[in-house]
């Protein structure tokens, strides 16, 4: 098993948006999906997880609706709103840009600087 990665500040919300963009999920499902996509490498602080969901719902990026879960239990399913889709796109672009810039800087050798 690979080493767990600590999540940088503010990225949890982006990951939740990504998880939900693949189809409506309840809270626990989102948690599982993020861990599954990341190959079990992300350690999510449980306390901050729901707070992030509440914040996203408050901002109107995700929308919660009560429904039936796979094992016939009532659960609240979250899906991405139009505003959330735009937000995810913007965040993704920003993140990719930043990652490329940082990676580029770090890749420089001593002679190139």
């Amino acid at each position: 098993m690979t080493k767990p990665v600590e999540l940088p500040q503010g990225t949890l919300e982006m990951l939740i948006l990504k998880a939900v963009s693949l189809g409506p999920l309840h809270g626990y499902g989102i948690l599982l999906r993020i861990q599954q996509i990341s190959g079990e490498r992300l350690e999510i602080l449980q306390g901050s997880f729901y707070a992030a969901i509440y914040r996203l719902e408050r901002r109107g990026w995700i929308k919660g609706e009560w429904g039936e879960s796979e094992n016939n239990r009532r659960a609240r399913f979250y899906s991405l709103t139009a505003a959330g889709t735009r937000q995810l796109k913007a965040e993704t672009a920003k993140w990719t840009d930043m990652a490329a810039v940082v990676a580029g800087i770090l890749a420089k050798k001593a002679g190139e600087i």
């Binding site: 626990y28 707070a51 919660g64």
Partner: protein, 897 residues
């Protein structure tokens, strides 16, 4: 949408999800996690435990939710408020004193603000009332006063066309009678130009206002009623529209009732409003209207003055008698006459209540500081378990604001009644239309005030109490012997409180002193048990008027009534007269005096009375004699003057035998008649003592007394001296008059009113304003004194309770009781003494300022009396609780150690 639904909707938009919704979602996540764990092989009990450890408690989830959506501050404040309320309930004595201290201050300030709002900021209900001007002119020879310009109908039209003028209202105040009933009733009517409805822009309560169509075909006989008249005469009958009212033997249809706030005109509130077109034109003076000019928006008064001046010059050319030789226009807003005097009164009263409020706030600060000492332990614990200083300050501030809001609620309720007090005490100082109501600006004012006060008195204790180090506080309750640090804050607060209280008390003392002085001032006549009874002749009834139109008939009529009243048992003296009611009597007239022809137009009051007047009012005869019955009937060739006249104009030789004549004694309108030679030379036959004729506060002006038969207007006054209360004779006097002329009623208002001479004094503006100041400042300073004493009392009581052990030790070690008493009361006593000294200094500094405002300087006597009273009360307030310190039994006290 109902209010409740609106609140629910707002609430939903703030926090869309309910607690149970949030908890249910979380529980389903917990369950799903738990089942996963069971699938991984954990026993159920173990899985439930691990799920809760990893994810948390469902019960705490709502808090996470509310914090995430930004409601944390809100929730914490809610908690602080609940905590504050609980703390108030726990200490009922503390809470009652704190809340009442503020309620007094906030209530009094709100009351004063609502008065100022009603009287100065928003006194009139008319549309664009700040643009409505009186057409005043200033006589350049007497620039202190101002006069009204009256206009005829055509001039009105010209004025309305001037560029800066939006519209012009003309009005004419007349005395009318309601006829057709058993007894005629005197009322006051105002003829209004028919644009009144649009000019005022006030929606009538019932029916409609006057409209231009009412002027068609020579005017329609219609009438609009004043609210109070409608209430008085028709009992507020809502079905009054369309009924008729008989005025001066003509029938008018009632078309409207004005709302209560409409009380045009503020100088003489009319009972009925009639269209100007139906005004009976009997002579020239009836033709003249007084104008109210509404300027267009954004026109300055200077521009309007210069634009209107040529028009008024034109009028002056046509009617030179209406204006003096040298004058200029000075338009004044209609509020102006009230702003001058009432504004000053209200400013002074506002200053008084603000002082009261500051004293109340200081009181709360002292109480909070004192109570805070018992809360140190609690606050230390809070701080030890991680509360930041800001959090503690905030909580203490919220508690202070809870107190001040409770005070504001009580205060606003009380202000409703408090605001009416000045109106009751001095009704003529305020526009008739300003009536007090609690409205949005006033509520906003008091809520703002409450928050401000809460901050003000809460901040010092909050900062003080939040600063401590928990390590020193926590180990146990503070040990008795340690003297409390930072007492100087209390001292400052107490000193300030005492100084301000002394300021209020000294002001009250001065106001009361000068009011008493006013009441003790010699009047020159004896008002006790004298009543004026006025009658108004029925000039509008041709038959009756014809009978008394001639001078002889009118004289006989008055004499007949006088004799009938004189025969009423209990009436000791009765005199007749016109314009002869002190303390304001007579009309200003120019006269000539023999041998001093070069003097520039000397002026004197001319007072018309009969020969019994001086006896009835007990005005002493100083020299010569009073005229006799025959001279009274003739009216000419004689005069009696007062002492002031003799000193000023007749000083060179003896008064007797000097001749004077008054050229102005001619009929001024169709109702007046004069004696044969009213303007001829008169011999001064006597000098009487000075009786007040220019108000009770002003020196007596020179006056000439003439027989009333010299010039008789359409009314008469009788001065009746009775045994005991004159008002109790009113019925028999009425009957006596009715036995002469069955429909001759007694007048209630105007020059020919009916009232006792003591009532006439009480109506004097000076008397009223001084009484207002005395009573209100008396009340303010009593409140302030009570507040300051409560503050000092509770401070000493608290500190004694805290230092029980210390006192026990002191007593056990043999300290004298007097010394212990001194130790217990020392800080409060010393700071109060400092406060008194500061207060005395403040008073002598402010004395000059106040002298200007109150027209009377601080009386040294009342200042020291106030200081002595304050010192004595403070001493008692200190020593009463301090005596508990020496009642401590040493063994008892040490047992707590």
């Amino acid at each position: 949408m109902s209010l409740l639904a609106a609140i629910r909707k707002l609430w939903h938009s703030i926090a869309p999800r309910t607690r149970s919704d949030v908890e249910e979602e979380f529980r389903s996540t917990l369950d799903a996690y738990k089942e996963d764990l069971i699938r991984q092989g954990l026993p159920e009990e173990e899985a439930r435990r691990k799920a809760r450890i990893d994810l948390g408690q469902p019960a705490a989830q709502n808090e996470t939710y509310r914090a995430a959506i930004g409601l944390r501050l809100f929730d914490e404040l809610g908690g602080d408020i609940r905590y504050g309320l609980r703390a108030l309930r726990r200490n009922p004595a503390f809470s009652a004193v704190a809340v009442l201290s503020l309620a007094l201050g906030i209530g009094a300030t709100t009351a004063m603000f609502s008065l100022i709002y009603a009287v100065l900021l928003h006194p009139f209900p008319y549309a664009g009332s700040d643009r409505i001007m009186n057409l005043f002119f200033i006589d350049e020879r007497h620039p202190d006063g101002f006069g009204f310009v009256t206009l005829s109908k055509a001039q009105f039209h010209d004025l309305g066309l001037a560029a800066p003028v939006d519209s012009v209202l003309g009005f004419n105040v007349v005395e009318l009678e309601i006829t057709g009933g058993a007894l005629p009733e005197d009322i006051l009517g105002i003829y209004l130009t028919e644009n009144a409805g649009t000019f005022f822009g006030v929606r009538p309560l019932l029916g409609r206002s006057l409209e231009p169509s009412d002027a068609e075909n020579g005017g329609h006989p219609v009438v609009v009623l004043n609210y109070r008249f409608w209430q008085r005469h028709f009992g507020g009958d809502p079905h009054i529209i369309g009924r008729t009212l008989e005025i001066n033997h003509a029938s008018y249809t009632i078309i409207g009732v004005m709302p209560r706030s409409f009380a045009f005109n503020d100088f003489a509130v009319a009972d009925v409003y009639l269209p100007a077109s139906v005004m009976p034109v009997t002579n020239v003076s009836d033709l003249a209207y007084l104008p109210w000019i509404k300027l267009r928006p954004n026109v300055t008064r200077a521009a309007a003055n210069s634009a209107l001046e040529p028009i008024v010059r034109q009028i002056a050319k046509q009617h030179p008698e209406r204006l003096p030789d040298h004058w200029h226009l000075a338009l004044q807003p209609i509020i102006w006459t009230f702003q001058e005097d009432t504004g000053r009164t209200l400013t002074l009263l506002l200053a008084g209540v603000v002082l009261l409020l500051i004293i109340g706030c200081a009181n709360c600060s002292i109480l909070l500081l004192a109570r805070g000492r018992t809360r140190r332990h609690e606050l230390a614990i809070r701080s030890a378990i991680g509360a930041s200083r800001w959090r503690i300050v905030r909580q203490l501030l919220v508690e202070a604001i809870v107190i001040s809001c409770a005070g504001a609620v009580l205060g606003v309720a009380a202000s409703y009644w408090l605001a009416k007090l000045p109106l009751l005490l001095s009704p003529d100082s305020f526009p008739a239309e300003s009536f007090i109501r609690i409205n949005a600006p006033i509520l906003a004012f008091s809520v703002g005030l409450a928050l401000l006060c809460g901050m003000l008195f809460g901040l010092v204790p909050a900062l003080r109490l939040s600063r401590h180090d928990s390590a020193r506080m926590l180990p146990g309750r503070q040990i008795g012997g340690v003297a409390a640090p930072a007492k100087h804050r209390w001292s400052v607060l107490i000193a300030a409180q005492v100084a301000l209280t002394l300021l209020l008390m000294a002001t009250a003392g001065t106001a009361i002193h000068s009011f008493l002085g006013l009441m003790r001032m010699p009047l020159g006549y004896d008002p006790a048990n004298v009543m004026q009874v006025g009658i108004q002749f029925h000039t509008k009834d041709p038959g009756e008027w014809g009978r008394i139109q001639s001078r002889e008939a009118r004289m006989a009529y008055i004499e007949q009534i006088r004799e009938k009243i004189a025969s009423v048992p209990g009436v000791s003296t009765i005199a007749a007269g016109t314009a002869a009611t002190p303390p304001y009597s007579g009309n200003e007239n120019s006269f000539e005096i023999d041998g001093t022809g070069d003097r520039e137009q000397p002026q004197a009051r001319v007072i018309f009375v009969d020969q019994r007047y001086f006896a009835a009012l007990r005005i002493p005869l100083l020299q010569g004699r009073i005229w006799n019955k025959d001279e009274n009937t003739r009216g000419d060739f004689i005069a009696v003057v007062n002492q002031a006249f003799a000193t000023r104009y007749l000083s060179s030789s003896t008064a007797f035998g000097r001749q004077l004549r008054i050229p102005g004694l001619m009929p001024r309108n169709g109702y007046e008649v004069t004696s044969g030679q009213s303007t001829a030379w008169r011999q001064v036959i006597g000098v009487v003592g000075d009786a007040r004729n220019e108000g009770i506060d002003h020196p007596v002006v020179p006056a000439i007394y003439l027989p009333y038969t010299t010039l008789m207007p359409s009314y008469a006054q009788f001065f009746v001296r009775t045994q005991g209360d004159p008002l109790s004779y009113l019925q028999s006097i009425r009957a006596a008059i009715a036995s002469v002329a069955s429909d001759q009623q007694i007048s209630t208002g105007g020059l020919a009113g009916t009232f006792t001479l003591n009532e006439a004094i009480e109506r004097d503006p000076q008397y009223r304003s001084q009484r207002l100041f005395s009573i209100l400042f008396g009340v303010f300073s009593a409140m302030a004194l009570a507040l300051a004493l409560v503050g000092i009392f509770s401070l000493v009581a608290y500190s004694v309770a805290q230092r029980t052990t210390e006192f026990g030790v002191r007593l056990a070690l043999g300290a004298p009781r007097a010394h212990v008493l001194w130790v217990a009361a020392r800080i409060a006593l010393v700071s109060a003494a400092a406060g008194i000294v500061i207060g005395l200094a403040l008073d002598s500094f402010l004395g000059a300022v106040l002298a200007h405002w109150m027209e009377s300087a601080f009386a040294a006597g009342s200042l020291f009396a106030a200081a002595a009273l304050l010192a004595l009360s403070v001493l008692l307030a200190c020593l009463w609780p301090a005596r508990h310190a020496i009642a401590v039994s040493p063994t008892e006290a040490l047992r707590y150690e």
